[in-house]
Assembly symmetry: C2
Homo-oligomer: 219 residues x 2
Amino acid sequence: MMAQVDDPAPAARRPRGRPRKSETRVDTRALIVAAAATEFTAKGYDSTSMRAIARRAGVDPSLVHHYFGDKADLFAETIRAPLRPDRLVAAVLDGPRDRVGENLVRALVTAVDDPKVSKRAVGLLRTALGQEFAAALLRQFISREVLGRIAATLGGEQAELRASFAASQMVGLLVARYGVRIEPLASASVEEVVRRVGPVIQWHLTGGGPLDGGGTPGE
Amino acid sequence: MMAQVDDPAPAARRPRGRPRKSETRVDTRALIVAAAATEFTAKGYDSTSMRAIARRAGVDPSLVHHYFGDKADLFAETIRAPLRPDRLVAAVLDGPRDRVGENLVRALVTAVDDPKVSKRAVGLLRTALGQEFAAALLRQFISREVLGRIAATLGGEQAELRASFAASQMVGLLVARYGVRIEPLASASVEEVVRRVGPVIQWHLTGGGPLDGGGTPGE
């Protein structure tokens, strides 16, 4: 399935009104994304390399890096991810350690409350529940780029186990609020969700936080 | 779509080797389940009555009650529910108030760790994420028979809101452990899951419990 594509560079010699360069760029991008989809599906997220994707697309590896910064970028494009959980998590992990829970929940819910994002997120979850290769891909991506990053930053005993339980509450929040739309949760304000789920994520990840003291959630 | 069915009673007069009675029973049951599926889909869980199902099936309402104890029974049969969350919850609510979280998690995980059950549970979740009428049905059933029961029994401020957040952690546990199978959670022992999720459910529902004191989950 090797294919030859034009190098995008010679566009400067083209006459006005013929946006050949951008057309070529779109084609090349699409070709790389299609090759990536094939590679990810065949080998999984962890075992797929940017080099193998370039080889399958029939382009130079530098071109793949030119269009896509890293493998997570390319994967997100391949599955048309509605948001970048890896970037969202990286941003939150840069903040205060004792507010990771509430900041993660606030960032996720604020982003996914956009109907276009939630529709796509629910569609991805549905696919992952129906097709084993989709589940495997999503699982590897989440483990490597999201949970692995959280565990490495927060450290501590059983950091990966903790991160996977935090993920279960985050995924459940997505399904309950945007998928099945269980009320009153589905209509609750962002800050209500932050008050009730933030401490749970904090506790899953670090075992401490605002749940200490026997308080009542959100009151 | 009315249909006549034989009354199952006259089987005693049939010759040996012709299990007419049980055949008829199966047919009548199937007829009622089919009628129920149509009614539930058209009107939703809350607005469907046993009487309307009987009318659509062309049988006497007493026959519907004979085969199915109540509407929840009939609904569970209609969606081929792999377990009865309403009964599971009712049993747990009969136990100690301060152990509702851990008992709910233990009962759910123990039941769904059976591969036949988890396959069916994941299939139902996938359907609910893909079809609005399925989501609406599942939402109404969960609200009425599961969350409503929890809220009525535990009471307190914002009991329904609390119950819906507890549901988000339970659903997320199902998706993460049996659907996407996020590790290490997916391979964790039942008791590990109970230690890490039980306190979360307890806190969602009652705002107190084993999370008090700043301990580290599961340690």
